[in-house]
Symmetry: D2
Subunit: 341 residues, 4 copies
């Protein structure tokens, strides 16, 4: 790390910085410029020590800025682990050549609804089934899912269609229960910084699909992945799902830059959720094509047999026909970038 | 609610909308304009029904927009409850004439550190002690608090100084434990949409200090308050703590507009956290004065006896001297708006 | 428009709203709900009148909200003009089957630099040459372009390569001068709301490439297009170039949703600028593929023969080799969506 | 500046960086760390050179980041000019003890309207009259001002009331015309990065009130001020007027942090515009008190004798009574922070 001292830093202040570095085991490399004095830290520290030291140096009133040199994550970084990680889910290999499409309703509402959706997405070429049994709802008056019953229905849908299941877990107390049924455990955007949940998931027996927080930077997102990996669960799948901006036409702004950026910063597989990323059914197919063209390893798409009867997110859900049409236009795009659906 | 149909909506589509309204028990009020057809819903529905119906109408491809007429929260709204709510914490009355200042370190680090801070903030005029025993940390390598031991130290500090305690709870499993020690349970910005935690807090025996999510709208924030109130805990204290914007000079952008806006939209007491709201010690006093001048009912301020040794947030922590100086400049501002410290 | 009155609006206030509508020539359609009174405006007003009336109604303290029914633009809207507009530039037809790639250096720096860039982008398949003679610079110490000399060099480059020219105009006084040399006049992101410039361009003899303001909504962007069209210049080409968000890893966040959204809202052709949209050379090719997959009619790409010697934007400029490689990977994507380069 | 090279930078690449520094007249200070190599630039360069060099170094593919040490502005900086600047306008001293309140209608609409407003704001204690003769309008169908006639009316209002005038100039061609009538030339938020206008204003004979761009960082804002100062006009008054964020309840988010931050970064006087900063009349008084409590040197407030008849911005305009009431509550706050109205 590099410590930039404010204009007019005294000799004593410079020595305080050097002492703080040396006390932690760093060497100090002093550079007295015309307008600023700069102290570089030399050596390697444990991540815990480095993080703390940077904060403490910044708290000196005479320190103008501390510039970190390395990224604040390691296990998730491409620099540390140059080969792409492939997460296996039954026969699927997420992060390999195939673009993995996970589709299904926002929420599990009934056996009939779920099975109808599951058959439709399978017929159109989806590889996994999505569907929420535990649902976050901004309004306390909204639908919050069928919970255990929903999990049971997901299991039935898997039995019938063979599609592996991805479903959300919101409460650290439910991780085990959900892991019994789900093939992949989803962390929603509102829980990306729910560190108690992440810690529990780091000990889970299932891969984790980690959605980006709607106002999280790429760096914060990778640190959330690091939480899960540091605890021992290295099977993390990232999912860009739109960020909050000033634009009101769409529900969120899908950050397409994040796709190639994250593939460079990290070795983890990366999906895109075009349903939340746009919030409008009529934009989903175009956003999906963009995601695959930009290098996404897969998609997470909301499909409902009857969107106008959906208990949640109907306006952004594709109909089965819309989904089939999307898949038809997606296939040549996947091939154009050397992938397949 | 008002349903605006797309240009060229057919008679059959109009009837579908009317039928959907009538099926739920609403009357329908049709207005055929030159360029659009509009259907108004007449009657009163339960919040659950209304929320769902609006979503389902929006999912019709021929519906352009659904415009809600009423706010999506009720218990938290000033319209429903015109009188200001005052939350009593021991002798303090939060939301009444006194501007309540809660101060203390970001994290409880040791007995010595906490007591030194507690004595200092009390001497300078604080009314409550803040300090985290359970700490969210963006980095998995960062400090996450002394946990149960930290709670015990907070209890000691209260015994010695008499200051009531506000401290954060992050895990639904810890609510009871924290409630045994804390006088006010704090929900941090990363947990405002942790609905499992909110649900648990709605059954807690302590008032809840609900920080605004860093990318939450005022409406979402009030819905989070509604969660807690709907479950039976009406003692909610709001806390504006800065939102995420494009400006990099400050850690967050303190939304000062939120102060008068929330006092108009809601009857709940409202605090401001100038430490996170700015992220820079040198801006905290000015932001505090602004908050009180704008009508805040109190402040939540980070104070550390030795910021350069803090395990967290040193750069935004005031020293005891800085805090005392802030209090001196704050007092006349409070009086200028008819309040007292 | 629909006028929603506050709770407890009196009969007299309702009549004031009706009178204001009738005075302008609207009919009023009253709906007294249980909790709110709503007045709908019936009839057709000139855009000027409607805009003003909505503002004035909102200024009544007892009016809660005015909900507009129609979009605030007409000439630019798909609803008013369902057929896509194709802008012809010499032999090119922008908005038709071909994906039009405009490439070249950020700034014209010298004859040698420009010609080297022009030859390279032509060889790799670009259809137009970009290059700034007048350059906005955030810093007053930065490079602001060769001005008239730069225009002359662009003309030479066109003579040699046959590539039509797109170049920026920043000052209403320069429109005529730039129009003599350029085939397309570019409005930069910082000038999208420079209405004096837009007005001048509405009388220009050249098509206008209108970049989105970095914090402009889609609706504001279309109103800026409407300015130019209303003055008589209907040859407007839109260009998404990234918006300002909280994410620091990229210079801007390319709003990929804007591509299909604008193609639905408007009939105007739409380009994407992946160079500014990402600000990082290593992301440009992926963003370009995403743009074309999402339906963009073309690209505006920065290419510099020696980025490390560029006077501006070197970090986001492709080398000629990088550009050629990007074109190679772009071709199959264009074909996958039924277009060609 | 500090140049951080990517992991695995070769000896040759390091030498390329050193050569680039030395070629410009810098010394190079090399620090080979375990994980990164860092090159510090030693010496003083002209701002133009430094700006360019940083960009060019960043364009090397093997350079990870260039960290600037000094701010990209000088004339506007507090470091370079520690004493506060006071801008004199007739008898007023903007930036001194008095909090200068500039008030009046958004737009000049008629003699009657302007004079009624001018008399009212004077009676309530305003020190200057604001009012737009040239008005930016997002919609091409909106009101764009009375132009020359409006200037004439402002002159009359000044003659009658003695209040100096601040009014907006939008077109570089109008600077001279507006300067004949106005005491202070206002640059609106949409023109903060209109560098052609800034350049013209740098040669004007009047002080410039420079509003912050609605998506501009503090650093960009200070660079805009630097443009004007560098050209010779050092009488710049800054004005915070709200930034664009995700929050829809208010028109903009007033960045109150910017007040103390800018007073620390710069010596220039700073006003706040609570009318645009909130967009809602009912929040203006609270925002004004906050601004003064935070250290603003003045306010720019919209007041209209009949907001519901205003041609622009009625919903955020105070009535004369509302303004008088605001001034009454503002006075004790000003005194509480050692100022006066």
């Amino acid at each position: 790390m590099i410590v930039i001292l404010g204009a007019g830093a005294t000799e004593e202040q410079i020595q305080q910085v050097i002492a703080a570095l040396e006390q932690r085991g760093y060497g100090a490399h002093l550079s007295r410029g015309v307008e600023r004095t700069i102290v570089g830290a030399i050596g390697i520290l444990e991540a815990e020590q480095k993080q703390l030291l940077a904060q403490q140096l910044e708290a000196f009133p005479f320190v103008e800025r501390v510039v970190p040199i390395l990224k604040p994550y390691k296990l998730a970084s491409r620099e540390f682990h140059p080969e792409p990680t492939i997460v296996a889910v039954e026969d699927l290999r997420i992060g390999a050549e195939q673009v993995v499409v996970m589709a299904g309703p926002c929420s599990v509402e009934s056996r009939e609804q779920l099975l109808e959706a599951a058959r439709a997405v399978k017929a159109a070429g989806a590889s996994m089934l999505r569907g929420g049994a535990f649902k976050p709802s901004t309004s306390p008056y909204g639908f919050t899912g069928l919970e255990a019953e929903g999990l049971q229905l997901l299991r039935e849908a898997k039995e019938e269609t063979g599609l592996p299941i991805v479903t959300e877990v919101m409460d650290p107390r439910d991780v085990e229960l959900v892991a019994e049924c789900a093939d992949v455990l989803q962390v929603g955007t509102r829980n990306m910084s729910n560190f108690m949940l992440l810690r529990e998931l780091s000990r889970a027996s299932r891969p984790v699909l980690l959605k980006r927080g709607m106002s999280s930077t790429l760096e914060e997102w990778l640190q959330a992945a690091e939480y899960i990996m540091l605890g021992g669960n290295e099977r993390v799948i990232l999912c860009e799902r739109g960020i909050r901006t000033f634009e009101p036409h769409t529900r969120f702004t899908l950050d397409i830059n994040a796709v190639p950026a994250m593939k460079q910063l990290s070795h983890l597989p990366l999906l895109v959720d075009p349903s939340h990323g746009t919030g409008r059914r009529e934009l989903v197919a175009a956003a999906s094509r963009a995601a695959v063209a930009a290098g996404a390893d897969g998609l997470l798409v909301e499909v409902h047999p009857h969107p106008e009867k959906a208990l949640k997110d109907g306006a952004q859900s594709l109909t089965p026909e819309g989904f089939a049409e999307m898949m038809r236009t997606l296939r040549p795009v996947a091939e154009a970038v050397g992938r397949r659906l």
